[in-house]
């Protein structure tokens, strides 16, 4: 009787030990798998977000030409003044870039093309429309350039019009963002006075 009752003792404790071991292993696996699952499910959203935001600036000196979105970008001119119908304490600014086309498939390379002005405080201005002010002859904005049918090796002038408050005009710097290069964007040094 006593022999029968003590026999399962060591086997049961061995079973329990094995179970505990697997339980511990499962807990450790959970700690690894949960973050991995989170990373995997959020990867697409994160990538999409990064491709939509101009987050990291690549500074470019004045006169320097930099490859960006398959073409070479250079700041051609930055000029501001009072023109057309403007709000009080505001200036009209025109920024133009000279771009040497490398990859002529602009509909792919220049998708989401955005010209901007940034100031010392990090504020950003997008192009605006001012009654009575138009781009100089031969200057296109980004969107029309995409559909202009340029060829490899052509040099085009891209530009746009902005409205900027008086307090920012002294420190503004032009910038360019393209979907194919985001989260990086180009920020140009102002031309010397």
């Amino acid at each position: 009787m006593s022999a029968v009752s003590t026999a399962p003792g060591p086997i049961a404790s061995e079973d329990r030990q094995a179970e505990q071991k697997w339980r511990r292993r499962s807990l450790v696996a959970l700690a690894i798998l949960l973050p991995l699952t989170l990373a995997e499910t959020s990867y697409d959203s994160l990538r999409e977000w990064l491709h939509g935001e101009d987050l990291i600036a690549r500074d470019v000196d004045f006169g320097q030409s930099v490859p960006f979105g398959g073409s070479d970008w250079k700041l051609a001119d930055l000029r501001g003044g009072k023109a057309g119908r403007l709000p009080d304490h505001a200036f009209a600014v025109i920024a133009t870039f000279s771009v040497k086309i490398g990859d002529p498939d602009l509909q792919k390379q220049w998708l989401g093309c955005k010209l901007m002005l940034t100031d010392a405080a990090g504020r950003r201005w997008l192009p605006d429309v001012i009654a009575g002010v138009s781009l100089p002859a031969g200057v296109m904005n980004c969107t029309s350039a995409i559909f202009s049918g340029v060829k490899k090796g052509d040099t085009v002038t891209i530009g746009d019009i902005f409205i900027v408050p008086e307090d920012a005009v002294k420190t503004i710097r032009p910038a360019v963002g393209l979907s194919s290069e985001r989260p990086w964007f180009l920020r140009f040094q102002r031309p010397p006075k």
């Binding site: 990090g122 504020r123 950003r124 201005w125 900027v164 408050p165 307090d167």
Partner: protein, 198 residues
Amino acid sequence: MRIRILGNLVILGATVVLSYGMQVSKPHYADLTAPIPADGAMHDTIRARSFDVRLDKVVFARALKTNQFGRQKLLTTSGLWAVVTTSLTATAASTTVADGTWQGPTGLRYHQTERLGYRQDMPPHGVDPGLEKRGLLVFEIPPDQIRGASLLIAARQFGPLDAQARISLDGLPTSADGQPADVLPEYDLDAPPPQGKS
């Protein structure tokens, strides 16, 4: 053995009660991701993440005069027109402010009117940092929704977890029966700004 079974039953029962309670009290997804209000009063500048807004003036009128495709139109209503003038500025980057809602005292919400069609001074308002811009919002509301109302202004109509300016309209002069003190017979949207009081 019996105590163990009883214990398990108690745990099971508690789990069921807890789960049911959580299910019943679960907030709706739309409430969990609702816009985050930034409160303020009339003539205060309210900071709503991507833009600053100040409510300058509310004018009530019985009819709206507007120019559509070169033709004069008079828009009438069985309630009242509320023409709200705001000053808008972007905080960090050029953006748009597109959504306005009139929230009555009991929580009824009136979305901005779409009867005016496209006009340059109607939403969406394009706003830039450092440049104050006058932005109009027009609502069609019953007269009893004015006292104790507030105005909700957001960048987009469905902006989960984005900021929403919530401006209390307690400062509006109303008579004893809750009607606005001053109602214009007609408001001309194309006339130069100063029309009506408050």
